[in-house]
Amino acid sequence: MKKIIVIMKKDLRETLRTKAFYVSIAMVLFIVVMLGGAVGGQINTLIEKGLAPAEVISAIQPLMGTTAFMLSLMLMMLFCMYINAYTLTMEKIKRSIESLLCTPLSLRQICLGKSLAVFLPSVILGLVFTFGGIVGINRFFIVPKLGHFVMPGTAPLVAILVVVPLIVFFLAVLMIALQLIITNIRWINAALMGVIFGVGFGLSSTLRFGAESWSIVFLSLGVAAVLTLVTIYLSRLVTKERIVLSSKG
């Protein structure tokens, strides 16, 4: 575990030095503000309908749940892609990955270390921006009119705090595995976009159950399970030989 953390810390430090990382934060901030504004508008419409505050709150809560769930998923996946694109691509271009493979580290330790370096900041930043968005919507649209702070329900909170990070973890491992064995960076990007859209579309279908429903948690767990199976299958293909040969380009 200690060596996994060594790899993770080094990759994290490298990520924090890149401009792309800060550009991604600025982009995500923009998305959160825009989405917050749109949700705030919907909440205003509900309030202006003249419903009683309790009715408004019970109408707002599912909306907050849906927004928070989709926002967390989208942001974590976005960060995942941005952070991932830098660390390993550079290692393959500079072929420092080859030296790393000759050390006493196992392939599993290298993959896990690199995956955690993508997963941890993605989840932390995703959660910070998601809850920042919830706080912002409450602060600017809900509290001034209703005097109440409205949080998403238990089901979306469980999904955001447990299941979405689980999906993102396997997504990060999958991305690392793909990047390790695919030579062409364009193919890698196309594959990553495919995976992200696949997960996004797969989960957007859960919204017809309503974000308050526990179905969203179970369906998300289903997506996580599919990702786990794909990751396990792909991890069999990740060999040192494939990594070295795919680093040539």
Partner: protein, 305 residues
């Protein structure tokens, strides 16, 4: 004695290409082993097999009698690859510190060790510079320091900067094995005690360098004649054709007064000396030829074409 590196009938294909064809050699502890061959001969693939990056399709590769695919076996190996593997965005110190942590060097020792290693390769003044600012030579030195982070510092004299060649020689003196793949034949000749020469995926030559030079040089004969006049030189040129027709003479050429002959195993120098005497061409000295690694290399790789 157990071999430090042992390859037994290793074959490796990449796609449809046969890169290594049943190659075998052993590197003994304390050897400075030169691994030579033209571009595309299979040197890099051999090194990748030795370092556990490639699995042989058949045959066996081991380091200190351990399968290199075991993580513990790789902990005993330091390496510098063609791509030095240094991180440009990190300082020299941070690069070494990263590898110290990977090799499990205790934090308390790591600081001192990094300091010693940087001093040894003459980079202590540039420890906090980013590697991206380093020249190629400095990068090589840093890569060498990195290759030694898993080594006990005892025995290494960090008091002053020494040349890379001397560092390699010092390692061998401490019974460490050095496997050196290089195109610099002069350097290999100076520091390596044993070599292997690979061409088209096959080991063409393997053994102790001095022994190989002696064996191959034994067939080289240089005869210093006593010719002084143009007429004598013309007679000698006439004899050259006669010498070339002898069954044991592989090649024959004249350089001023000297006659360079390459003989096969049946070679008889006395017969040649007698021929020269018959023509009244005096012989001042007969020497066995000195053969350089460069000549060995050229001869072996050329014969394979």
């Amino acid at each position: 004695m157990n071999a430090a590196i042992n390859l037994e009938r290793v074959s490796k294909n990449l796609g449809n290409r046969e890169i290594l064809k049943d190659i075998s050699f052993a590197v003994e502890p304390g050897d400075i082993f030169g691994y030579l061959g033209p571009n595309g001969a299979g040197k890099t693939t051999t090194i990748r097999v030795i370092l556990g990056l490639f699995k042989p399709d058949s045959g066996k590769a081991s380091i200190l009698e351990e399968d290199i695919s075991r993580d513990e076996a790789r902990a005993k190996v330091g390496f510098i690859l063609e791509a030095d593997g240094l991180y440009d965005n990190m300082t020299a110190y941070a690069n070494l510190d990263y590898y110290c942590q990977i090799y499990g060097v205790p934090q308390a020792q790591a600081k001192e060790k990094i300091k010693d290693m940087l001093q040894l390769v003459g980079l202590s003044g540039r420890a906090s510079d980013k590697v991206s600012a380093y020249s190629k030579g400095m990068r090589q030195k840093l890569a060498l320091a990195r290759a030694m982070v898993h080594e006990p510092t005892a025995g290494v004299d960090p008091t002053g900067q020494i040349e890379v060649r001397q560092i390699i020689l010092n390692l061998a003196q401490r019974s460490k094995t050095v496997f050196l793949s290089s195109h610099n034949l002069d350097e290999v000749q100076r520091i390596c005690n044993r070599i292997a020469l690979i061409d088209k995926g096959e080991i063409k030559l393997y053994g102790e360098l001095e022994k190989l030079r002696r064996e191959m040089g034994r067939r080289e004969v240089v005869i210093d004649t006593a010719i002084r006049t143009t007429e004598q030189a013309e007679v000698l040129d006439g004899i050259l054709a006669e010498l070339k027709s002898l069954p044991y003479v592989v090649s024959c050429r004249r350089e001023a007064q000297k006659l360079h002959l390459q003989l096969d195993g049946r070679g008889d120098v006395s017969e040649i000396v007698a021929m020269l005497s018959r023509e009244k061409l005096g012989v001042e000295e007969v020497r066995k030829g000195e053969i350089s690694l460069e000549e060995i290399y050229a001869r072996v790789t050329k014969s394979g074409e």
